[in-house]
């Protein structure tokens, strides 16, 4: 005990000591993760892109120049227009109109740019009326022709003369949100079943692991096809949306459950868990209050990596015509239009929704990768 005085430092000494403390030594777990994530430049850029896609999805009605289901048979497969900012040296943002030429032999209609016809465009223009989020009536669009009746197809038109740009924008809302909702359901299932499996071990663990192995061993697309085909055609679009989401996540939860289980097993012998148990905390409290927060960051990263799978699944099902159905607009539904090779040959812009899928999945993957690396701030790579 006499030694104790040796550890008592004078104020001056403590001051010196404080100067040596680096920010990294006192920062919290989330702070450390944020620093680590920021260093991963690709992941940061990807994160901004993902945010951008979700914002596009959220403000779809305002951002799209037209109503996505508004059809104009005059402009069937009209090619994309170019935006010119000047006309005769004067500031006049505009696109050019179309001229239709009909081939006398094949009777095929081809669009040629009509250099004479100037269609002035602007920002925040009045256009089709819509209800923002189905609630607030409005008629302003971020970009569009000053005269709403003029053709304005920045990404071309589809079989019924609907604007591809508007459809891709609205598709972002459905496709991206399916990923989120699906992952949320998977996450709940994964944490509950994975947590139980890892925490209790024994025959419960065995049973759950066998179920996961079983689900992983069957090819998903045929099974999804079988289940999705059972959804009655008469259902409301919203019901179909949720049914498909539930279907996708019913099989998608297995990966997350495995992650949770692994983390729980590696942590359940740790001191803080034993302390909690000795304090008489109930099992579900131990799992939710102590275990889940400590692997939450890791699980969030894994969840981000699971979203792209969900998006790809929905796209595949809708593409086959057994997922979402029109009038719902998702990227998969849009790509269904591209199934006909002749249609794609005349209108390659039908494949633009595919680019949107690739872009979304790619950025989500990069973001998830960066988050996973950052999720364990104490590792030294």
């Amino acid at each position: 005990m006499a030694d104790a005085s040796a550890y008592v430092k004078t104020n001056a000494e403590i001051q010196v000591y404080d100067d040596d403390v680096r920010a990294e030594d006192v920062a919290g777990q989330w702070q450390l993760m944020w620093w680590r994530f920021k260093r991963h430049k690709v992941a940061v850029i990807a994160g901004i892109c993902v945010l951008f896609i979700y914002l596009v999805g959220i403000f779809a009605e305002f951002l799209s120049p037209m109503d996505p289901n508004d059809h104009h048979t005059r402009y069937t497969y009209a090619p994309p227009q170019n935006v010119d900012l000047f006309h005769d040296g004067q500031w006049l943002p505009h696109v050019k109109g179309y001229q239709v030429e009909i081939d006398q032999f094949t009777l095929r209609r081809t669009f040629v740019t009509d250099e004479e016809k100037i269609i002035p465009i602007g920002l925040f223009v009045k256009g089709d009326e819509y209800k923002m989020w189905g609630l607030i009536p409005w008629d302003r669009h971020l970009i569009g022709p000053l005269n709403p009746r003029d053709p304005f197809y920045l990404w071309g038109a589809d079989r019924l003369g609907r604007d591809m740009l508007s459809r891709v924008i609205h598709g972002a809302r459905v496709s991206m949100s399916i990923g989120l909702v699906g992952v949320a359901i998977s996450l709940v299932l994964g944490i509950i079943l994975g947590g139980i499996s890892g925490y209790f071990g024994g025959w419960i663990d065995n049973a759950i692991q066998r179920i996961i192995e079983f689900l992983k061993s069957i090819p998903t697309i045929p099974l999804w096809m079988g289940l999705a085909a059972a959804i009655p055609l008469t259902w409301e679009p919203l019901y179909v949306y949720f049914a498909i989401t539930v279907l996708i996540s019913l099989i998608g939860w297995t990966g997350l459950a495995r992650e949770v289980r692994g983390k729980v097993i590696s942590m359940k012998g740790d001191d803080f868990v034993i302390a909690a148990r000795l304090d008489g905390l109930r099992t579900n409290k131990i799992i939710t209050r102590h275990l889940v927060p400590s692997f939450l960051s890791h699980i969030i990263a894994q969840t981000t990596l699971a979203i792209p799978d969900m998006i790809l699944s929905e796209t595949a099902l809708s593409f086959l015509g057994i997922g979402l159905q029109p009038p719902i607009v998702s990227w998969g539904v849009l790509l269904k239009e591209a199934q006909n090779i002749n249609a794609v040959a005349t209108a390659p812009w039908l494949m633009i929704p595919g680019l949107a899928v690739v872009f979304a999945v790619l950025t989500l993957n990069f973001l998830g990768d960066g988050m996973r690396d950052a999720a364990d701030p104490y590792s030294h790579h």
Partner: protein, 325 residues
């Protein structure tokens, strides 16, 4: 080894039973039984006796578990998969030829995936952070993000636009119904590479990552340094030690690669119009031809499970630690 195989086969049985139950549920899911759909669609084309016979044969008046038993025992003991109402033929006449091609495509794709991802994975690991590593990582990410049907569409578009030919199908028209011959086999090979690339790309990208990570884990272990310090050449060191160890997880990937290859084969077949299970299964589901659809789901899943079994046995043969566990 024999004991291991025996145990492994035994473990497969509950899985197969579960699969059959799931397939049966899929058959049962649409509202009403299939005979109501059938009689509604084929007014007067089937006699009441025929309908009564079918109703009896598939026990549609029985409780659910008995119906299941009749269905599965018909398959297991008599090879009777039920009746396809769309094709007006027994299902067993329809599925085998289509399944055969699906198996062929999935298997060749698996070989392709391994053959491509193995050397690239090794290269990426040995030359970590080099140009080729970044290049293949980038390609890999793109490959992962592209749905395979989209890749199929792009290839078809390119073939149509720039080469003026359709790239769909597995045979040229003149070989479509010709008997098997070397020329037909050659024709098949000429068509096969497109579906293989389309189905295999995403998994190749994934396996490159797996191989790279596995090998990176091994490369910095002391035994590699030991091998080097005793004067073994770099190539020999690599092949003799770390690659062999990194290979095991690589081979065990078959367990999850095979299901997704089969999945991919189904959807790609629809786009490329291949005479495999894909288009037939989709058609069966659309017209609620549930015996055909259920049989396909059952057989595709069974094949996947058997494939995984074979890979497990291979792995046990390769790695004694698994055998003696």
């Amino acid at each position: 080894m024999h004991i291991y195989i025996f145990k492994r086969v035994l473990m497969m049985i509950p899985t197969l039973i579960l699969i059959s139950i799931v397939a049966f549920l899929v058959i049962q899911l649409p509202p009403g039984d299939f005979l109501t759909a059938l009689t509604a669609g084929m007014e007067g084309r089937m006699t009441p006796e025929e309908i009564a016979y079918l109703r009896e044969r598939y026990g549609l008046n029985d409780p659910m578990w008995l119906q299941y038993w009749k269905w599965i025992s018909g398959i297991v003991f008599e090879g009777d998969f039920g009746y396809s109402f769309q094709w007006r033929r027994p299902v067993s006449e329809l599925i085998w030829s289509h399944l055969g091609l699906t198996v062929l495509i999935s298997f060749v794709t698996l070989l392709f995936v391994w053959a491509v991802s193995f050397p690239i994975g090794v290269l990426s690991a040995v030359r970590q952070y080099s140009f080729s590593d970044y290049f293949f990582t980038f390609i890999g990410f793109i490959g992962l993000a592209t749905p395979n049907f989209l890749l199929a569409l792009v290839l078809m578009y390119v073939g149509f636009k720039y080469f003026g030919q359709s790239v769909g199908g597995l045979f040229s028209p003149e070989y479509q119904n010709a008997p098997w011959s070397w020329a037909k086999l050659g024709d098949l090979m000429a068509h096969l590479w497109i579906p293989i690339i389309v189905i295999g790309t995403a998994k190749t990208a994934e396996l490159i990552r797996v191989m790279r990570a596995n090998l990176l884990d091994e490369l910095h272990k002391p035994y590699v340094a030991t091998a080097r310090s005793k004067g073994l050449g770099e190539m020999r060191t690599l092949i003799k030690y770390p690659i062999r160890i990194a290979l095991n997880p690589f081979i065990s990937t078959i367990g999850w690669v095979l299901p997704s290859l089969v999945s991919g084969a189904v959807i790609t077949a629809v786009v490329l119009n291949l005479p495999t299970t894909g288009p037939l299964l989709l058609g069966a589901l659309r017209s609620q031809d549930m015996y055909l659809a259920g049989s396909f789901i059952l057989m595709l899943s069974t094949l996947t499970v058997v494939g995984t079994l074979i890979s497990d046995i291979l792995l046990a043969w390769l790695d004694p630690r698994i055998r003696y566990q």
